[in-house]
């Protein structure tokens, strides 16, 4: 049977996910191999060098850079307190004495006799790295981090904003078509990850922020609402560091698009369970998609039976469920009805490989294979 390979987004009730948790600079590893960790647990810690402050002492004292060292009260490596004298001049009359005081508490990093600058550094900041997932430490990478592994339900979105968070899933929409509105969001949703249907607008997002929702998972949104949320027009698809009050994950794309039924039904079965989510998206080599990870309970752990979703991808066959991801059939979900092997001329006059798709209303369409996505799982 003819088949093709078109990567899609994974939606699966059971798989094993493994996440590397790596510090930005070398540090100490606090977790032990084989031990169980919870998402909020600190598994590694590093000391980020403190913020640097530059004080141009020669300008303040009216001296030459080469003479600076003679006027310094503090030396390189010395600790200083805020407002403590760093340097002072030596006038004949004490009243005319000028002192240059430290703007921070920290240490003297460098004294330059070329530029006349004194560089001060604040004490190091502690950076804690959390486990992000409830799982087991599968590997310790000395000095760098760990790898956490967990058996879980796993759903990839298409686009997100905001970083990692975790909380209880609350499926609010009654169907994949239902719009998530401000009226749906109640104080009881504080700290939760809410799941809507086809769409979320500005008003509902404002309400979510006010209520203290940790995450929103929904089919689509308008570009204008994303601009309003971020305060700028997102030009390049790299996200994950935004601070908008919650993490947002779109499962389908931009516009009002019902969530794929398979995704919605899986989320509904997971209602009330703890999920770890991330909105980080990067669409380039090394694609990163937003994700919803719901660890399985110990008695559900069917580790022997599951395999990585990635390994299951064999290609697209007639009968597979697919989603069209470009106009004129954008957002529609159907089944592969045929996979002609010859190149076909489409209305733009491009010659491309196509696929025949049958939709639930029994209509059919011919679509470039590049414009469909397999619903995987």
């Amino acid at each position: 049977m003819a088949h093709t390979y078109t990567p899609g987004l994974t939606v699966t009730p059971r798989t094993v996910i493994s996440k590397k948790r790596i510090l930005p600079i070398p540090g100490a590893i606090l977790a032990e191999q084989g031990k169980t960790v919870a998402s909020a647990e600190v598994v590694a810690r590093a000391e980020l060098p403190g913020k640097v402050h530059v004080v141009n002492v020669v300008n303040l004292l009216g001296i030459l850079p080469e003479d600076l060292k003679d006027f310094m009260v503090k030396r390189e490596g010395d600790r200083v307190e805020k407002d403590e004298a760093l340097a002072e001049n030596k006038p004949f009359i004490k009243w005319f004495k000028t002192e240059v005081r430290s703007p921070i508490t920290g240490s003297v990093e460098a004294v330059s006799s070329v530029t006349g600058q004194v560089i001060l550094r604040e004490p190091p900041r502690q950076l804690d790295l959390s486990a992000y997932l409830d799982g087991t430490v599968a590997e310790v990478i000395p000095g760098q981090g760990i790898r956490v592994e967990t058996a879980c339900a796993f759903i990839q979105g298409i686009f997100g904003v905001g970083g990692e968070t975790w909380g209880e899933l609350a499926v609010i929409a009654s169907s994949p078509e239902e719009v998530l509105t401000a009226d749906h969001l109640m104080p009881r949703h504080a700290g939760k990850i809410v799941v809507g249907g086809s769409f979320v607008g500005t008003e509902a997002m404002a309400r979510a922020k006010a209520v203290g929702v940790r995450g929103i998972v929904v089919g689509g949104m308008h570009d204008k609402d994303l601009r309003a949320l971020l305060g700028y027009d997102l030009g390049v698809a790299i996200t994950g560091t935004e601070n908008v009050g919650f993490t947002l994950i779109l499962t389908e794309g931009f516009g009002r698009i019902p969530m794929a039924r398979k995704t919605f039904e899986l989320l509904r079965t997971l209602n009330g369970r703890k999920a770890s989510i991330s909105g980080a998206t990067q669409i380039r080599a090394g694609v990163i998609r937003p994700e919803i990870i719901v660890p399985l309970a110990a008695d559900e752990d069917a580790r022997g039976q599951v395999s990585s979703a990635r390994q299951e991808r064999g290609g697209v066959k007639v009968g597979d469920p697919v989603r069209v991801i470009r106009e004129p059939f954008f957002g529609r979900i159907g089944q592969v009805a045929g996979l002609p092997s010859d190149l076909t001329v489409i209305p733009t006059e491009s010659r491309v490989r196509v696929m025949e798709i049958g939709f639930p209303d029994e209509s059919t369409a011919v679509v470039p294979r590049a414009n469909i996505e397999v619903i995987e799982g």
């Binding site: 600058q117 030009g235 794309g253 004129p328 491009s350």
Partner: protein
């Protein structure tokens, strides 16, 4: 491996390891000519699960083996030289490669004065094929702690520090070095090695810079890239960037040590190789040219004017990954002016965002194609605008003035890009190379660049310019022969008078004399009209134009012009839409004009 000097090259295999695809081409000497004969491609394998770039290279070469019947691989080795065991269909004489995998070469540069050494350092890094993440300078308006925070947060592959002419300021260069040292910069890849830093500033500050940065970075000192204000000396620093790219950056990427060992010439960053072939062609043919490579994430622009090469990269102007940024930078109206129908703004914005998050999709309907080509016009236009601001004469240089300059004084640092002196535009990248009709590629470039007078246009057939660039370092003849015969698809010539007139008014009378007895064409080019005359590849026509009083064709207003124009797969285009090109302000007039132009040229299917 046999060195190129030992044996004349007859068979060459070259790869370009891109972010997503590794493209391999086979070049063979057919008779007395070098020709590109077969190509293969495979996904790049720098990232998990493979984490070895050579896997993708072997796969791409294996595809060539299948197509050509030539045995090139012996297990996981490339057989060199060709003719091993007496069989001419075994092996190749040399393997060469370029690479932009893993995001290419990302650099930060620093100088003292932003518009002088800062810009020179930027030109140097761009010319070496880098993406410049930021330009730091003493006068860049940022406070010291802001500079330090920026250096720390960027994590580039390499830093280029310049500043001061030889014998000039030491203090400001040392100040920049102190900021870099205070930031304790870490490299992008790997945790265990020091960040490479090239110092190419005032020779008098070397000792101080070495004291400050010697222990905190992998410091390399080279000649000052701006030894005197009047002259740039970019080559030594550019060479050092290439050396460090191989020694540090590439060596950290998975599989590259093996790849470097296979290659018979140093592996080059992809854009550096493209720049090199452009420079070579411009020099050999004695022409001024602009080359553009519009990709999914970035648009690279190369130019050679009066022998001076410049490259810029607009890191966030592209057709998929950064398509939304084209909209953000150009504005919706500028995109919509090229679209011959109305569309709801919200719908269009959602469509563009959907293309960004699903970058591999293709337009299925004509409307979608027209929208994508409209966005491409704006990306091309903006990228050339960026290029013009950096491809300039040196700023801060004293100029001698004569009495003739009284009425027209130009400051130093004028752009070198003179569209009237431009001979050739070469386009590359999916939207240009794979447009359903070649005419669409030609008009996209004409609309975006607004060439003046006579300008030839071409597209790169299968994006083999990187391969040819690195090949030119080994065998220039082979590289230029393949470039002319197999790489470039000549589209034709655009003739565009400069000036404005009332819609339908006479712009110029023209006579076109064709070769070999074809009946000449003559007529009047009116304002707002576009004409296309078939003129095949390899053919030349003589175009005589008598412009209206206010119209200039390069010889001055109203002055007649006669020039030879070369043909191509599209032909000869007479563009009477005026320069600068203004589209009608009213929507209905604009849409009517666009439809007329499209119909006159046969741009889209009826």
């Amino acid at each position: 491996m046999t060195s190129p000097a030992d044996k004349p090259l007859r068979t060459i295999v070259a790869t370009d390891c891109g972010s997503t695809t590794t493209k391999a081409i086979l070049i063979e000497k057919v008779g007395e000519e070098y020709r590109q004969t077969y190509r293969g491609e495979a996904p790049t394998t720098v990232e998990a699960p493979f984490e070895d770039v050579t896997r993708g290279v072997l796969n791409a070469i294996a595809e060539i083996e299948e197509l050509s019947g030539r045995k090139i691989l012996d297990g996981e080795k490339i057989i060199t030289p060709s003719g091993a065991g007496g069989d001419p269909k075994v092996g190749v004489d040399i393997y060469i490669s370029t690479s932009s995998a893993g995001g290419g070469l990302q650099m930060m540069v620093a100088g003292v004065v932003q518009s002088m050494t800062g810009e020179s350092a930027q030109r140097c890094a761009l010319g070496a094929g880098a993406i410049v993440m930021d330009v730091l300078a003493s006068n860049d308006g940022r406070l010291p702690h802001e500079k330090i925070e920026r250096i720390r947060s960027l994590r580039p592959d390499m830093i280029l520090l310049s500043g001061g002419t030889d014998g000039g300021t030491v203090m400001h260069v040392v100040e920049m070095a102190e900021y870099i040292a205070a930031a304790e910069p870490r490299p992008r890849l790997g945790m265990s090695y020091n960040l490479p830093l090239i110092y190419a500033g005032n020779a008098g500050a070397r000792e101080r810079v070495a004291e400050i940065l010697g222990k905190k970075t992998a410091l390399t000192i080279t000649e000052n890239l701006r030894p005197v204000l009047e002259r740039e000396n970019l080559v030594p620093a550019r060479n050092k960037i290439h050396d460090l790219f191989l020694e540090h950056v590439m060596a950290q990427a998975p599989g590259y040590k093996k790849l470097i060992a296979w290659a018979g010439a140093p592996i080059m960053p992809t854009p550096a190789a493209v720049g090199l072939i452009m420079e070579t062609i411009a020099r050999k043919q004695g022409i001024n040219l602009i080359g553009v490579d519009i990709g999914g994430a970035t648009t690279d622009v190369f130019s050679v004017f009066q022998g001076v090469f410049n490259r810029t990269v607009s890191a966030n102007l592209g057709m998929s990954y950064s398509i939304s940024n084209v909209l953000a930078e150009s504005g919706l109206d500028n995109i919509m002016r090229w679209v011959p129908f109305s569309i709801d703004e919200q719908d269009l914005r959602n469509r563009i965002k959907n293309k960004m998050i699903r970058p591999t999709t293709v337009p299925q309907t004509l409307d979608e194609l027209q929208i994508e080509q409209a966005i491409a016009r704006e990306a091309l236009r903006l990228a050339l605008g960026h290029h013009k601001t950096l491809a300039t004469g040196l700023k801060g240089v004293q100029q001698e003035r004569s009495i003739s300059d009284v009425f027209e004084q130009k400051g130093s640092g004028e752009t070198l890009v003179d569209m009237l002196k431009l001979d050739l535009i070469v386009g590359s990248g999916g939207i240009l190379s794979h447009a359903p009709r070649r005419l669409q590629s030609m008009l996209m470039m004409v609309d975006a660049y607004e060439p003046l007078g006579f300008t030839e246009l071409a597209v790169d057939s299968i994006f083999m310019m990187p391969h040819l660039g690195v090949l030119s370092t080994v065998n220039e003849q082979a590289a230029t022969e393949v470039f002319v015969r197999d790489c470039m698809i000549h589209l034709g010539t655009c003739v565009a008078p400069i000036g404005q007139a009332a819609w339908g008014a006479r712009v110029a009378d023209y006579t076109i004399t064709f070769p070999a007895g074809r009946v000449p064409e003559s007529g009047t080019l009116t304002f707002g009209a576009l004409h296309l005359f078939p003129l095949a590849v390899g053919e030349e026509a003589t175009v005589s134009l008598k412009p209206a009083r206010q119209v200039d064709l390069g010889a001055g207003r109203g002055e007649p012009v006669e020039r030879r124009a070369r043909g191509g797969v599209v032909g000869l285009m007479l563009d009477g839409r005026g320069r600068p090109l203004h589209l009608p302000a009213k929507d209905e007039d604009r849409i009517r004009a666009l439809k007329e132009w499209h119909k006159a040229l046969g741009l889209y299917p009826a």
